[in-house]
């Protein structure tokens, strides 16, 4: 156990969950938060961590991170992606169930959780598969997965075989007490598409994925959420209409929440022009209007979380004809600066932005993270919001370099990341 008493001084503490935004020290003892914004009379620090000019925030909670372990270690490992996550200020992250083997047994779930703790020194939360082997038809053993530490079950990016299986999966999740994470996409409408069905795909002759592939799946799920009462979270929305449907469902009181991948808030279908495989993502980058309305939905809180949707790849994965390349971006280390870019562009205030990275995602899965409560584990991200750095080799930790932001200047950089009061990253 870590008995060290640490004082973090000179920073501005922002804890959106407790509506704290003030200068002052943050005191840690035995790996837990003792006091926020003041130093108790009897607190004598063993160590002072001076962070002048920096923001002291709860550690970030990322709802969708592929570490590629187990099964695709040539793309990334818990060690490499854990280091990248820590460098990105992320202290808790969820791993979708499409690992190899799939997270459909307690053994795989425990492997990830335990190796996450030991190798990555972060809180790694496996999302259980809704169906066995993600086969879309047979329910997984959800109660066992819950006991093994899965905070939710999900379909990763694999559609269920029918609306009947979806209904049963929802009902069974309710009785297992697990929320469901859905990445909504109608497989028939998606067909062989690889880019947003819009003017760019029309010009480039790329098979399109219509917006309706998302809205039809959201509509189907919403009807069954209403029918079953399952607590559901829609992951990685891409379209304005889907966001509006979720807003309406929330107004009607349905237990639904949503997140968006950070790249959807910055890039659009235009970025695919020239067949840029680095911008090949799923769901696809959509129109400028979609991007603007996703930003609005984020600001209004309809979308309560931003995730990295981190998908590191080996070089070969992107070295092919556009449709044959593997989708996804490496994004852990750009999550903070790209979120701060939204603050600079006036989309969100800084505390609102941090809420979407901390208590927002944590509350969606009922995780005890993303907030600075006295007595809670000291999971912190300390960052310099003005530090300017370039996305290039010596600064990059992920095994995947597949980001279209490579070479760009970023503003905002993590200086320290702490988990249980232990420094897991020092910039």
């Amino acid at each position: 156990m870590n008995h060290e008493r640490i004082r973090i001084s000179g920073g501005r503490i922002i804890d959106p969950a407790n509506q704290i935004d003030r200068d002052g020290p943050l005191c840690i003892a035995d790996g837990r938060i003792v006091a926020v914004g003041y130093q108790p009379d009897d607190f004598v620090p063993d160590r002072d961590l001076a962070v002048p000019g920096c923001i002291v925030s709860p550690g970030f909670v990322d709802l969708c991170v592929r570490v590629r372990e187990p099964g695709q270690e040539h793309k990334g490992t818990l060690a490499s992606e854990g280091a990248a996550a820590a460098a990105g200020g992320i202290t808790t992250f969820c791993v979708p169930p499409d690992t190899i083997p799939v997270i459909d047994t307690p053994a795989v779930a425990r492997l990830l959780k335990e190796r996450g703790q030991r190798v990555a020194r972060l809180r790694v939360l496996p999302i259980g598969a809704l169906t066995r082997g993600l086969n879309g038809t047979d329910l997984s053993e959800m109660s066992a997965l819950k006991d093994a530490g899965c905070p939710a079950v999900g379909n990763a990016s694999v559609p269920l075989a029918s609306s009947l299986v979806l209904r049963r999966a929802f009902e069974y999740s309710v009785s297992s007490g697990l929320p469901v994470i859905l990445r909504p996409e109608d497989p028939a409408l998606r067909d062989r598409g690889c880019a947003h069905e819009g003017s760019i795909a029309t010009r480039l002759g790329l098979p399109g994925i219509p917006e309706a592939a998302e809205t039809v799946a959201v509509a189907q799920s919403l009807a069954l959420i209403e029918h079953t009462g399952v607590r559901a979270h829609f992951g990685r929305l891409s379209s304005a209409r889907a966001a509006r449907m979720i807003a309406e469902a929330q107004q009607r009181g349905l237990p639904v929440s949503a997140d968006v991948a950070i790249h959807q808030l910055h890039l659009t279908e235009e970025d695919v022009d020239g067949f840029d495989a680095l911008c090949h993502v799923e769901p696809p980058l959509r129109t400028v209007t979609d991007r603007e309305r996703l930003r609005s939905a984020l600001a209004e809180g309809v979308i309560g979380a931003i995730c990295s949707d981190h998908q590191p790849h080996d070089l070969d994965a992107k070295l092919d004809v556009f449709a044959a390349t593997e989708p996804g971006m490496a994004a852990l280390e750009t999550l903070l600066p790209l979120t701060l870019r939204l603050v600079n562009e006036g989309v969100l205030s800084l505390p609102e932005a941090l809420a979407r990275l901390t208590c927002g995602p944590a509350s969606m899965l009922g995780l005890p993270a993303g907030r600075l409560d006295p007595g809670a584990p000291a999971d912190l991200c300390i960052f310099d919001p003005r530090a300017c750095w370039r996305l290039e080799d010596p600064n990059w930790r992920s095994a995947g370099r597949n980001t279209p932001f490579w070479g760009q200047s970023m503003i905002g950089r993590v200086t320290s990341t702490l988990v249980d009061g232990k420094v897991v990253f020092q910039g």
């Binding site: 795909a201 010009r203 002759g205 992107k318 092919d320 004809v321 044959a324």
Partner: protein, 322 residues
């Protein structure tokens, strides 16, 4: 991972063709230069010895990842008439079937000291990708990539139109049929716009038209009679058989009834209208035989002009400085 746009990838610093991937980004004067050069090659194909030494000592590789007869044959003849050595590689039955990656295939053939790749591939962007990967002295000619582009076909069609009509400016052009899946249509639209025709219409059922056709600079019409009203050029597109099984259209019969070009329908167009088709033709599906073989048809001229136009493109692409 190069995502250069068509213009920067295709032209060298002096604006000469380095690769020929798409009509996008090419100037009107360059298109005219291609047609003028092709014009000069038409006499070569009439000579007793049908050869010029422009590509002597060069090796042209026809790299076909998708089967083709007409395009591959005319490229082969064009290269041979320019005195190049020609290597035909049919990848559809070759290396990638054994699990070799596209890039490895390219690297291996590149290592044989070749000078030019003529590439046909089933996926959009294939020629772009290969052009971004090859050594600086190698030119890539797109012989059709997915639904994206078939720029040499578009140029031979432009050449045909110029031969028949002279000036592009007053022309009204209709493209009829499966525009959604047609690389030929996309390239033709770009070429026609660059050459400044007065109007382009695309005619077909909604299922076979791309979304936002207006962003291509064309007007979508769903009625053939209305769409053909007063046009100078009718470009028919091939309807592939598999469209019936995937719910794009109900039947060949209904398709022909609504969108098939017959003599009666042709009468809606200008009296001197020409009818074009990139081939292969589905007689009785998209076009009636009496039209395909009739006096307005220039379909066989298109095939004939394929050789001088491809000679022009091959020769221009070898002249660019690195």
């Amino acid at each position: 991972m190069c995502a250069a746009n068509a213009t920067t990838l295709q032209l060298d610093s002096s604006g000469n063709l380095r690769h020929f991937l798409s009509i996008e980004g090419l100037s009107r004067s360059l298109l005219v230069r291609i047609m003028d050069t092709a014009e000069s090659f038409t006499s070569v194909t009439r000579q007793a010895v049908k050869k010029v030494p422009l590509l002597r000592g060069k090796t042209v590789v026809n790299l076909f990842f998708e089967t083709s007869t007409r395009t591959r044959t005319t490229f082969e003849l064009a290269a041979k008439r320019l005195s190049a050595d020609v290597l035909n590689i049919n990848i559809a039955t070759s290396a990638t079937a054994k699990g070799e990656s596209l890039l490895d295939t390219i690297r291996n053939i590149e290592a044989m000291q070749v000078d030019m790749f003529v590439v046909r591939h089933a996926e959009s962007g294939a020629a772009h990708f290969i052009a971004g990967q090859v050594a600086p002295h190698i030119s890539v000619i797109n012989a059709g990539d997915g639904r994206h582009a078939h720029p040499t076909q578009a140029m031979l069609d432009m050449f045909t139109i110029r031969r028949m009509k002279g000036d592009f400016a007053p022309l009204k052009v209709a493209l009829v049929g499966d525009v959604l899946h047609s690389r030929v249509a996309r390239s033709e639209i770009l070429a026609l716009r660059t050459l400044g025709v007065s109007e382009i219409r695309v005619i077909g059922p909604r299922t076979l038209l791309p979304v936002h056709p207006e962003t291509l600079g064309v007007r979508a019409v769903s009625d053939l009679d209305q769409g053909l009203e007063g046009v100078d050029v009718i470009m028919m597109l091939r309807l592939q058989k598999e469209r019936m099984s995937s719910a794009f259209i109900p039947s060949e019969h209904e398709y022909f009834a609504r969108f098939g070009l017959t003599e009666t329908r042709l009468a809606k167009a200008k009296p001197d209208a020409i009818v074009m088709h990139p081939g292969p033709i589905n007689r009785g599906v998209e076009i009636d035989s009496r039209v395909a073989d009739g006096p307005h048809s220039v379909i066989l001229q298109q095939v004939n002009f394929g050789i001088p136009v491809r000679m022009a493109i091959l020769s221009l692409a070898t002249q660019a400085g690195a």
